[in-house]
């Protein structure tokens, strides 16, 4: 057994100082000095001395601490005889560790500066690959980040700028304008609109479920905990795109993934799953009336099944299946509606091009009820005036004609002076105030003369540029007006010349040849729907069939200008007449005819953004969302259809009323009672005639273990997003320059300036 190596004692052992930076260089040899190096790493051993001269001899002067006077003594030349045993001190472990730490820190800083200091920044800075949808922007950081390519100061400013996330999100909007009007608010809609959504949802889902029982076992525990921390201002705060869309997580990262709990955290109704607690679907799919109104219940259960159907509608075709009228679009999302000719024409074509209908009067001659020859016409200068063969209808002039006459100051003055006498009691006016009555009637004659002489130029001028769309309407009314002028005022040109010269009006009839050339048969058809009705001296228009261009033009203008507060002037009167259910041009007409029939099927919607009204001339088209936050694609569900077909889900209502919804729901009187207003609220009336879709039907497949029951299966977060956006991506990507994306920081112009 050997003796212990280590001894402790102030004489036997040294005091070790491991935290010192330096150790004796002889330590590795096992023979360190007792002094050790200085704190600066210098050896303190001084075994060499500086010999002192004493008389003729040199004597050693080495200090006692370093061994004292040596035996050998200095050399004869006065130098020390000893070897220099000073060591080269080494760094201690502690010091070495500090050195390594400093080196690693410096290298880390250098690496960071290399990564961050580039202009544009190094690709190493990227936190990962972007999704394949954004792969074309992989190396163009400035496209999505305002801080990219900025110098150190600006970079730091962006780091502490609270608006950086929103500024970045604004760059997203360069390529994603479809997100909505308020892209950074919850669901990309204004707060008030969101509240409206919530209110509607409460109203439509508050009723009892169709299945009778809604499974509901409360809300998930995590949501209960989250509710303790949820702020009230969340719905009004701005959310950056990156809140939900986490980029740089790989090419195949699902950028639009959102957990169900995240969806529910903002909603007042919280539940475990679609199967457990989700409200009934209520009016889903039928929440808004169809753009083209069609009552399935009435047609399928009343019209098509009666024995009289083919007798009443000899050209009608009773559909044998749903695909007779509906077909999937190219994406399979929407079961779009076929055209009018395929679906409706068999029964409704003749109804539209109704030859028995008088049509709409556009121009009319007031009847004087007496022969002009019997009037003191020569004295008052009325000239030729046709005599009606039937009793005068006691109706005012057509509103359209009034619009054309409003540019005639003399006419307007006479009309004001006549007051109630014009135009219904003009015979009385001719007796009581002949000069004023004649001025009034000459206004009408000037209109016909103007149209006959100047044609389209006069027509457009008289519309006074107020309705450029009407001025271009086709087929034009001018040829019919010219024919009517020749028919009713054969001496018109001579009369106008004589009146302008102050001469007596001519009384000679035109020659027989000329007269026969001008003479038209009663109710002469002028073509394109226009015709002249001799019996009441009117120029009328009857629609030539479905999609009549003139009526579409008139109705678009009319509906676009509709307002409940409109004053009853000629313009608003004409427009109201056109859109009214009895839009025949005569207030005495009964029932929906002519233009009124268009709006029996084509509903009118109000644009929620602009507030303007518009007619739905077409059924829903692919890409148009029926509900802002709900999406449904038919194609995955087609293979699940039973032998019942579409009826599996779309149950025709057995309890729907068979009463006409026409007047009570389609049109309402405006508040001031001046006109009919089409119903523009797509939520309140004119359903399709189907029962609500049952959630139980969906649950058969949509469970967590089967087809999935994620919120995003059926709901979209952004109210304005299109379901076809991904398919449309590459087309948009090719036009990035066009939409004005940010330029590369070191733009080509800068490069061109540099040598």
């Amino acid at each position: 057994m050997t003796e212990p190596l280590q001894k402790f004692g102030w004489k036997q052992s040294q005091y070790e100082r491991p935290a010192h930076g330096w150790v004796c260089g002889h330590l590795c040899d096992g023979s360190p000095c007792q002094f050790g190096p200085t704190s600066r790493g210098q050896c303190q051993v001084q075994n060499l001395c500086q010999p002192e001269k004493s008389g003729d001899r040199y004597i050693c002067s080495r200090a006692v601490a370093f061994g004292g006077v040596c035996k050998e003594g200095p050399l004869p030349d006065g130098t020390c005889c000893q070897q220099d045993t000073a060591c080269q001190p080494r760094r201690s472990l502690f010091h070495q560790r500090r050195l390594v730490s400093c080196s690693v820190t410096a290298l880390s800083i250098a690496f960071c500066l290399y990564v961050f200091g580039g202009h544009p920044p190094s690709g190493a800075m990227s936190p990962g690959n972007v999704t394949f949808q954004h792969s074309s922007l992989e190396h163009e950081c400035w496209t999505c980040h305002v801080a990219a390519g900025k110098n150190g100061t600006e970079f730091a400013v962006h780091s502490f700028d609270t608006q950086t996330a929103i500024a970045d999100s604004n760059l997203c909007m360069k390529c994603h304008p479809e997100i909505g009007s308020e892209p950074f608010l919850p669901h990309s809609v204004a707060h008030a609109e969101l509240v409206n959504f919530g209110q509607q949802s409460k109203e439509t889902t508050s009723g009892e479920s169709s299945s009778g029982v809604i499974a509901d076992s409360g809300r998930p525990m995590l949501l209960s905990l989250a509710s303790l921390f949820k702020g009230d201002a969340a719905v009004e705060s701005h959310l950056a795109c990156s809140t939900c869309h986490q980029e740089h997580r790989g090419k195949l990262h699902e950028l639009t993934r959102l957990a169900d709990l995240q969806c529910q955290s903002c909603h007042s109704k919280q539940f475990h799953s679609f199967q457990d607690g989700h409200p009934e679907l209520a009016d889903f799919a039928y929440s808004r009336r169809p753009r083209i109104y069609f009552d399935h219940s009435k047609h399928l259960q009343q019209y098509f099944v009666t024995e009289e159907f083919y007798r009443v509608m000899p050209d009608g075709k009773s559909p044998t299946s749903c695909v007779a009228c509906h077909e999937p679009d190219t994406s399979g999302t929407l079961m779009q509606t076929r055209g009018f000719e395929q679906m409706c024409a068999g029964c409704h074509e003749r109804e539209i091009a109704d030859r028995e209908s008088p049509g709409i009067a556009f121009l009319a001659i007031p009847s004087l009820a007496i022969d002009s020859a019997a009037m003191p016409d020569m004295s008052v200068g009325l000239g030729q005036w046709p005599v009606a063969t039937i009793d005068p209808p006691l109706s005012p002039l057509p509103h359209f004609m009034q619009m054309l006459l409003e540019t005639d100051a003399e006419y307007l003055a006479a009309q004001i002076e006549l007051g109630e006498l014009a135009p219904r009691n003009l015979s009385i006016a001719l007796v009581e105030t002949p000069a004023v009555a004649v001025n009034y009637l000459w206004g009408i004659k000037r209109l016909f003369h103007d149209l006959a002489v100047n044609g389209d130029v006069a027509f457009k001028r008289r519309l006074n540029d107020r309705f450029p769309t009407l001025a271009e309407m086709e087929p034009s009314i001018v040829p019919s007006a010219v024919s009517a002028a020749r028919l009713w005022f054969s001496r018109l040109n001579d009369e106008v010349i004589a009146r302008s010269q102050g001469s007596p009006l001519p009384v000679a009839e035109p020659s027989a040849g000329e007269n026969s050339r001008l003479r038209l048969t009663p109710d002469s058809v002028m073509g394109g729907g226009w015709y002249i009705r001799e019996s009441d001296h009117t120029v009328r228009y009857r629609p030539v069939g479905h999609s009549d261009p003139l009526l579409k033009t008139l109705l678009d203008v009319a509906v676009g200008r509709l307002s409940p507060d409109a004053s009853p002037d000629a313009v608003s009167g004409m427009l109201a007449q056109l859109v009214s259910p009895s839009g025949s041009g005569d207030l005495s007409s009964r029932g929906p005819v002519a233009s009124g029939r268009c709006l029996q099927c084509h509903t009118v919607d109000r644009n929620p953004k602009s507030g303007t009204l518009g007619i739905n001339w077409n059924a829903r088209r692919p890409g148009e969302k029926s509900s802002p936050l709900t999406a449904f694609s038919h194609s995955p569900h087609m293979k699940l259809l039973t032998e019942d077909g579409c009826i599996s889900c779309h149950q025709v209502s057995r309890t729907a009323s068979t009463d006409s919804a026409y007047r009570s729901e389609f049109f309402t009187r405006s508040e001031n009672g001046h006109q009919w207003m089409p119903q523009t609220d797509w939520k309140v009336s004119l359903a399709s005639g189907f029962d609500a879709i049952s959630k139980a039907r969906c649950i058969e497949c949509h469970t967590d273990s089967s087809a999935g029951e994620s919120c995003l299966k059926c709901h979209s977060y952004h109210a304005g997003s299109s379901t076809h956006y991904v398919a449309d991506f590459w087309r948009r990507a090719s036009s990035l320059e066009r939409v004005g994306l940010p330029k590369r920081p070191d733009s080509s112009s800068d490069a061109a300036e540099s040598p």
Binding site: S101, A124, T162, A165, L239, A240
Partner: protein
């Protein structure tokens, strides 16, 4: 139940509780549409800073900021907590970018070296005290020289007395390299006595050819061999306990530097609302 076991259970339970709270809080924040990486990132950075302060605390022994043992316990459990927070921060996926991966590698290396240090500091001290004499690490070179000198003295003495070359040859062929510097570090780390046995067998195999006086000299040399091997054992284990900090501490500083840059980038590119 002894004090250490009780402390371990208490601290372990507290750790599990806090880790669970961190996970639940992360889930709640995620549900509420907060950007959870911001929260977990700040939490992680704060933990790393506090953990790094442990090294400062060791140098400020005079300042009363808790006991060193308390700091060590906190350092251990907070260090393990960082792994939970890190997993939440990266979303249990491997970061994709070069910088992000480098940062993650730094964290993983720091954490792994910390775990290794925990293992070493819990196992090596017991082994150090169980074998040979406890020697200050800084004095080991001195004792190595002392043993080398002792053995050479025995050899020279033997040569003078016996005038044979058996012992010097044995010293030159087998013992001189052994006594020159610390040997068999790896075998000592894995707690293996195979090199020591092999050397002793070598010496023992020579004894049958030696005289009585030579055998006494060999016995003295054998004692020195055993002492030297114990000294090597001390050197290997104590050296390892010091060297692992060469990895853990520098990586921590590098991690802090890169975390700061990472935070700047995240705020500049992701916003700071």
């Amino acid at each position: 139940m002894n004090k250490r076991a009780r402390r371990r259970i208490q601290n372990g339970a507290l750790f599990v509780l806090l880790a669970t709270l961190a996970v639940v809080a992360n889930q709640i924040l995620n549900v509420l549409h907060y950007r959870t990486p911001f929260f977990s990132g700040w939490f992680l950075f704060g933990l790393i800073v506090v953990l790094a302060l442990y090294n400062v605390r060791k140098k400020l022994a005079l300042i009363p900021v808790g006991t060193s043992a308390g700091w060590l316990q906190f350092h251990l459990y907070a260090g393990i907590m960082t792994s939970v927070v890190f997993a939440l921060h990266v979303g249990l996926r491997i970061p994709d970018g070069v910088f992000e991966r480098t940062l993650a590698v730094f964290y993983v290396a720091t954490f792994t070296s910390g775990v290794a240090g925990l293992f070493l500091s819990r196992t090596f001290p017991a082994r150090i005290t169980s074998r040979g004499e406890e020697i200050l690490f800084e004095r080991i070179p001195v004792f190595l020289k002392q043993l080398r000198d002792d053995v050479e003295k025995v050899v020279f003495t033997c040569v003078e007395q016996t005038e044979t070359t058996a012992i010097p040859e044995l010293y030159l062929s087998h013992l001189k390299p052994f006594f020159e510097k610390p040997r068999n570090v790896f075998w000592h780390l894995v707690h293996s006595g195979r090199p020591r046995q092999r050397l002793l067998l070598e010496i023992r195999g020579q004894q049958r050819f030696l005289s009585e006086s030579e055998r006494k000299a060999v016995d003295q040399v054998t004692d020195r061999v055993r002492t030297k091997d114990d000294l090597d054992y001390q050197y290997a284990l104590q050296g390892t306990l010091k060297v692992w900090l060469f990895i853990h501490i520098p990586l921590t500083y590098g991690l802090l530097v890169m975390s700061i840059f990472h935070g700047l980038a995240v705020y500049a590119y992701g916003g700071s609302y």
